[in-house]
Symmetry: C2
Subunit: 193 residues, 2 copies
């Protein structure tokens, strides 16, 4: 018995996510978001309360999509080493080939917001725990089938691999060519054999 929404919430969140992803939180103005989403300012505020809430919603949507990918590529692998390497390569190829060098949204948020934004920090901490559990499981499985060295704990190897991922996507923001990024993955995987 009321007027229905004219826009698709998910599409609007995707557009906002893209803007925040490329420019960061502070550098993205409400005017940018109006342009990116196609909504009027008032509609944005009516639907999402304020800039920060809209940002959190966009971040959460990003993580949901990322985790669908992570879960798909890291769970129940027949060939853990190849699987982990493929997951890593695919991520870096995706993040490292955007012409606008937008990098990884999670890493961008860690750097720009985590130190002073409790909500963002908490969301990203939970994300790290989840991703690490997927990665640790894959590596531990790989150790049982001889894919990875067993003189180191799977927990420690997964932590290192995750930090390396963060570092590689950081390098990519400075314009390091994709071939150099890919080579680092091969080196890291080789060190874990």
């Amino acid at each position: 018995m009321a007027r229905p929404r004219e826009f698709d919430t998910d599409a609007v969140l995707d557009a906002a996510m893209c803007a925040f992803w490329r420019q960061g939180y502070e550098a993205t103005s409400m005017a940018d978001l109006v342009a990116a989403t196609g909504l009027q300012k008032g509609s944005l505020y009516k639907a999402f309360s304020d800039k920060h809430t809209l940002f959190i919603r966009a971040l959460q949507r990003y993580l949901e999509q990322a985790n669908r990918f992570n879960q798909q590529l890291l769970s129940q692998l027949d060939a853990p080493k190849v699987g982990v390497q493929h997951w890593f390569q695919t991520l870096v190829e995706s993040y490292g080939t955007y012409a606008d060098h937008r990098g990884c949204f999670s890493v961008n948020c860690l750097i720009e917001l985590a130190p002073h934004d409790d909500e963002v920090r908490q969301i990203l901490a939970a994300q790290t725990v989840y991703l690490r559990s997927l990665l640790t499981q894959a590596i531990a499985h790989g150790q049982t089938v001889g894919d990875f060295r067993t003189d180191m704990e799977a927990e420690d190897l997964s932590m290192m691999l995750l930090s390396l991922l963060y570092g590689i996507v950081t390098s990519s923001k400075g314009g390091v060519p994709i071939e150099q990024l890919q080579k680092q993955i091969r080196v890291a995987i080789a060190l874990m054999e």
Copy 2:
């Protein structure tokens, strides 16, 4: 034959650097810089032209100081493995224990500015080249004395180690405890033996 400066340029640059380091470029206003440096707005503009120029000067000063440290700890090591590990640990201990989680200024700049600020990107690219050369040299030396494995190129190992450093300081911004960061260094060094 004219009135002399009342302030010390380096001290002002240090104060500005600290503000940019903690809050990022966009989130630091000229009002913040006035408060941090103790100068009046007009004096800041007279001495440094504009916000961006001031930022570049602060970044350059940061890199000079960082490279004095890097050069001191990575050149002509009698015990390359211990030396590299010590350099790494000292950096991470420093970056990972600031109460404000400011992280590494270079990494912050890579994430926030490198994609759309040519000057910053160029400065950081040169910095990466320099730091990598120091690190590669130390590792190559270590290979000749049996400290590091020789089945991998020193170039590749140094690249990986540098990315790992970037990743570890990124993790530190999310509040990962220092012990976990230090453990990653030990694991990485062990993998290189």
